[in-house]
Symmetry: C2
Subunit: 288 residues, 2 copies
């Protein structure tokens, strides 16, 4: 039998992110047995039925004991507490890694907890959908996506190499990045857009002067534009709070941009408006 | 031969909106000959080749002379000038209608120009894509969409009835609405989201501190969210300027919503954040 990259993996939080990693590694033949851990029994049972995991337990301490790699994909604010529970029970040489959307605060809280010989590799796959739970997991979620790993000076080189190979096996391009840069970039390309989408839906939906739901007149553009406002509220509360500084900075930058646009509309500055829209269109079209 | 709803139609501005109406009415068998008028010869030739129109001319005065119905779908700010050119040459009993995204200003400028016996029915099909030009036109663009007609006390009832049947033949549900209400609702569900998308792309793209284009890290959510920022800059400059008052009001309402969210993030109000995101998610999910 050919050796797999990760003989025994434990996924704590077997939802979209953890479940999809498990499915991707199974599809690639790079994982042996996968143990799922979670709070919700129904979700674990679904994960087992769908073949996302091979077994499950709600005893996190026991679940990590013989794992070669533990993947933490619980809500971002719970990551340090979950790490604190698991780390003392992991075997020497084992690797803890995570999929948290915010890195600086998480790394600062987890690194001091590391026992001698247990390695932590902070990570963040840039992928997801607005759905959640193990039934939303699918093997190709990470295909052709980027996964950012944010090692620190304390990160073990061999552990970083193994986690890099794991994400490559899942189909992703691995990018190594400083934790602070990661959090600022994610604030810009992901956290700010979510805040804007949530605020936009609430602003439009709170216009009650016509005594009818004006959202019913919305067409495809509005629906696409606001799809991310369907994302999990608890997850986004936690992300907003754990990346507070970078996010507030980006919201301010966006507010300034919008205020300038508003001034140009009010003043009827047609050339400035055209150039503002054109610049945006050119940047957006370059993404395709 | 069965009588068609509109024996002779002239479409002034044969792009996505006008071209798709022509294709939809042809598919429904409700239009006879369609004459295209436009500034760009290449676009008219493409429209003819693709069967979007049956003939074309750049002489707008001649093109409207024997039309039973003239559909104006040039950029919104040009609609009154195009109406002024065509109206004196239209035949008695003919109908002028339009597809402009903004109604109050357009109606106020066109109605005083109407010769005796020529009817104007202001309209706005709530449909579109981020693409433009006659090559972007397709017959099912209006299928299962809403078309808002905004008649005034001067609008002829029979003309309104015919334009209603025309949009129904194109597959749309026709909604009759006051012009001011139309402009406010469109400011909320369409014009504001476009302004926000343009401002968001520019805010994110102008973060140069890492000496690389951080947009390259964006994933599907960002791309979907900003798709409408690929829309035509000239069209959106004109919409922003012609629906200025309603749009500025909606931008202010959105700014207040975002400022409240920012305060909750800064203050760490976790319950308020959760409820804000949940309320938005519930409103968004109700659209599906």
């Amino acid at each position: 039998m050919q050796e797999v990259l990760i003989p025994k993996m434990t996924v704590i939080g077997t939802g979209l992110i953890g479940g999809s990693l498990s499915l991707a590694l199974k599809a690639a033949g790079e994982v042996g047995e996968v143990t799922g851990v979670g709070r919700g029994l129904a979700n674990l049972e679904t994960a087992l039925e769908l073949g996302v995991i091979d077994r499950f337990t709600q005893d996190a301490e026991a679940a990590v004991a013989d794992a070669d790699l533990v993947f933490l994909s619980t809500p971002v604010l719970t990551l340090p507490a979950m790490a604190a529970r698991g780390l003392p029970h992991m075997k020497p040489g084992a690797i803890l890694t995570d999929g948290g959307s915010v890195k600086e605060q998480i790394v600062a809280e987890i690194e001091p907890l590391l026992p001698e010989g247990i390695h932590f590799v902070p990570g963040h796959p840039i992928a997801g959908t607005e759905r959640s739970g193990s039934s939303a997991a699918f093997a190709s979620l990470y295909q052709d996506r980027r996964c950012i790993l944010t090692p620190t000076e304390k990160t073990d080189a061999a552990a970083l190499e193994l986690v890099t190979r794991m994400w490559q096996a899942a189909g992703s391009e691995v990018v190594i990045m400083d934790v602070v840069k990661h959090d600022r970039i994610l604030a810009a390309i992901s956290h700010l857009p979510h805040m804007v989408a949530y605020a936009l839906v609430n602003a439009v939906a709170s216009d009650h002067r016509y005594g009818e739901d004006i959202l019913k007149y919305s067409a495809g553009g509005f629906r696409d534009f606001t799809r991310i406002a369907s994302s999990d509220p608890a997850m986004w509360r936690d992300i907003a709070l754990s990346n507070r500084e970078a996010l507030l900075e980006m919201i301010s930058s966006f507010e300034t941009m919008l205020a300038n646009l508003k001034e140009d509309i009010a003043a009827g500055n047609d050339d400035d408006l055209f150039n503002f829209f054109l610049r945006s269109k050119e940047r957006r079209d370059a993404l395709l």
